[in-house]
Symmetry: C2
Subunit: 143 residues, 2 copies
DNA sequence: ATGTATGCAAAACATTTGCACCTGG
DNA sequence: CCAGGTGCAAATGTTTTGCATACAT
């Protein structure tokens, strides 16, 4: 149950917070912008202000419950943090996001940071490309 | 000379464009936001509108003359593309940017993309951390 | 000349903030 | 009850756009 997760993070278990956390947990899309969350809640008939969404998402991020990504400059997207670190591959056609993890890359990143004397706190790796589905669609259009 | 570079890219060699390109070529900082460019030109006594800066930077990016980065969500920064691909390490304290290149990581990225059937068009890797200088400063403050 | 580029100001977004009211513990 | 949370609307910061004027070729 999410209300205990919230209290564990030192946050009061309010209605908006529970709704937002629940949404991020259940959503199959997995990567949602503040606007996405807002619209999803509206459609579900929930009354939440957009300001609250931003505030809550920021708090969740600080609490380590979710992770923020800046795939493009336009807007941030958030995803539930389920303990497993992974990187992202983003389809530039349809926006689909695929997650992956590569031990070799992780190791090299740490090695490079320490080589330059950096105290590494975080890293982000995005591979941009065209996903198999969009390649197929493109091939058919060409026929 | 930059005017020929511009024409090669299919862009008229106008004064603002030459100034902006020159600035990006010469600037030691190497990673500038639109606002940075704007202020630098004002200080140099040049009359350029901020809208032109944005338009020109976007055109330069499309033309492949410069590369755009979204280190954080706030604002984009641009750097001259001198043919050598590299990734970035960003100090979260002072904002300093260190460039690096790692063959192993590059290879793994391609391997992963093709493993998932993606046609990779681009990728971005940022390592965030605290640079040696800021670590030192922090240690002194603690004394 | 003439199509393109620029400057200005207004618009468009994404996100943040001040403040009065409401709510969870 | 009361500290903290929320909603609203206004403010912010960045980037984009409409339009009349200026410029490169």
């Amino acid at each position: 149950m999410s209300s205990s997760d919230l209290r564990k993070a030192g946050l009061k278990a309010t209605l908006p917070r529970m709704r937002i956390l629940q949404l991020l947990e259940e959503n199959s899309q997995r990567h949602m912008s503040a606007e996405d969350v807002y619209r999803a809640l509206l459609e579900a008939g929930e009354e939440v202000g957009i300001a609250t969404i931003y505030r809550v998402l920021t708090q969740f991020e600080s609490a380590g419950l979710i992770t923020r990504h800046n795939f493009d400059g336009g807007h941030a997207v958030y995803e539930i943090d389920q303990g497993d670190h992974h990187d992202h591959m983003v389809c530039t056609r349809c926006g689909k996001v695929t997650e992956f993890f590569d031990e070799t890359i992780e190791k090299r990143q740490h090695a490079i940071a320490s080589q330059y004397g950096y105290d590494m706190t975080d890293h982000s790796l995005y591979i941009f490309g065209i996903c198999p589905d969009c390649q197929k669609a493109q091939a058919e259009r060409r026929r």
